[in-house]
Symmetry: C2
Subunit: 224 residues, 2 copies
């Protein structure tokens, strides 16, 4: 489903170079649940952004369903990101001027879903993350964990085949963290959704079929 | 050192009212290390903001060293926030257009510290959180955990008497989380700094002398 081939990412900062990814190879099958762990700065967010087509590698390739992302037009990439991939970011997930409900509706607007269906589905998704009483709040009127839960609901809006989640439970208490990880597990069980979760929490990492360990921009090991 | 008396905070959202704090009483002695735990949405960030004078309660009072915050002028409040209190926010800690070094220098500019002393101290603080090789990076060029560590360094810039930290280790791996909590413990041991940390991580909460539990806007219990 997702294949990364020798990904290298070098950032330039002034005269200095940061080797964020030093040759990453990864294959994730359809319906697999993978978690990625590793120290702060080890390259997890960088890898996730490149896998989701949000950033380009300096060298190497990403294939989604056998198609090389670097050979796609911007329109094709945008369509994949809208319909195929649900992304939960580590920060800044929500549009500050839209309510929780409107934030969850946004991907459905791009997918040209009808107004009533959008509202109905957005409400249902917010209920599933326990936020039915916060639908009309702006992000600034939500707690940190509530903002994160809205982001998760939004990532699910278009029934994506792949979910890429960067620290989806970082702001959540234990009960909500387990709830989110169970929700992701069920999506995989019931709908064959492919899931890649970056996390620092080994308890959450264990929901996956395999745990991939990163260090200094490389994959250094795997636990199943 | 810090005393909260019957704090009530009600937010209005459209016609609805959110009872974020329903009567919170808390006393923290000088040199005490307190952690606050509780479910997502239970009022932890709201409480911390009010304790630090960043927000006003709907009812009730906060006293810092016996002085009622609501009786202070804006100048007096600003001075307390600059010199006495170091604040680590749950999100959006850093000014996006300033480098890591400049972000840590900022509170010292307000405190009128000389340019050389500021630079020297900012470098030293960034080294203490393991970021001496990222000083000239902008926040967008830092990983999530690196941004959080810069925020912690900045909170320490003016040698505050009180540190209020909202999820300071939420983005950090285990090694860095323990490093930060040990740094805070040492500040308390060596300099009598008063520390209040909001956290979801019970392992981190245990660094404190006492753990205060919040639920639905109230303090419901305490573990020592
Ligand atoms: N500006 C605001 N306007 C309206 N409601 C708000 C506002 N800020 C917070 N709230 C509400 O107040 C409640 C408490 O929020 P708070 O941010 O204090 O929770 P928290 O304990 O820090 O949660 P988390 O662990 O998720 O960060 C939440 O239900 C939230 O929706
Ligand atoms: N835009 C950028 N420009 C320069 N350097 C960058 C940029 N983005 C990230 N980096 C650097 O690349 C490295 C990897 O960053 P990345 O965000 O992938 O780490 P991470 O594993 O997600 O860390 P965390 O657990 O702290 O979120 C870091 O050392 C960071 O400083
Ligand atoms: Mg990251
Ligand atoms: Mg909070």
């Amino acid at each position: 489903m997702i294949k990364a081939e020798n990904l290298i990412k070098i950032y330039k900062v002034g005269d200095a170079e940061v080797n964020a990814l030093g040759g990453v190879n990864l294959e994730v099958e359809k319906g697999e649940f993978v978690s990625i762990v590793g120290a702060s700065g080890s390259g997890k967010s960088t890898l996730l952004h490149i896998l989701g087509g949000l950033d380009k590698p300096t060298e190497g390739s990403v294939y989604i369903d056998g198609r090389n992302l670097s050979e796609m037009s911007d329109d094709e990439l945008a369509e994949i990101r809208c319909l195929k991939i649900g992304f939960v970011f580590q920060f800044h997930n929500l549009i500050p001027t839209l309510t929780a409900l409107e934030n969850v509706e946004l991907p459905m607007i791009f997918a040209k879903v009808s107004t009533e269906e959008r509202k109905r589905r957005a409400k249902k998704l917010l209920e599933s993350v326990g936020l039915d009483d916060r639908m009309n709040h702006l992000p600034s009127q939500l707690s940190g964990g509530q903002q994160q839960r809205v982001a998760i609901a939004r990532a699910l809006a278009n029934n994506p085949e792949v979910i890429l989640a960067d620290e989806p439970t970082g702001e959540l208490d234990s009960k909500n963290s387990h709830l989110i990880m169970k929700t992701l597990s069920e999506l995989r069980e019931n709908y064959g959704v492919t899931i890649i979760v970056v996390t620092h929490d080994m308890e959450m990492a264990k929901y996956a079929d395999r745990i991939i360990k990163m260090k200094d921009g490389k994959i250094v090991g795997e636990i199943s």
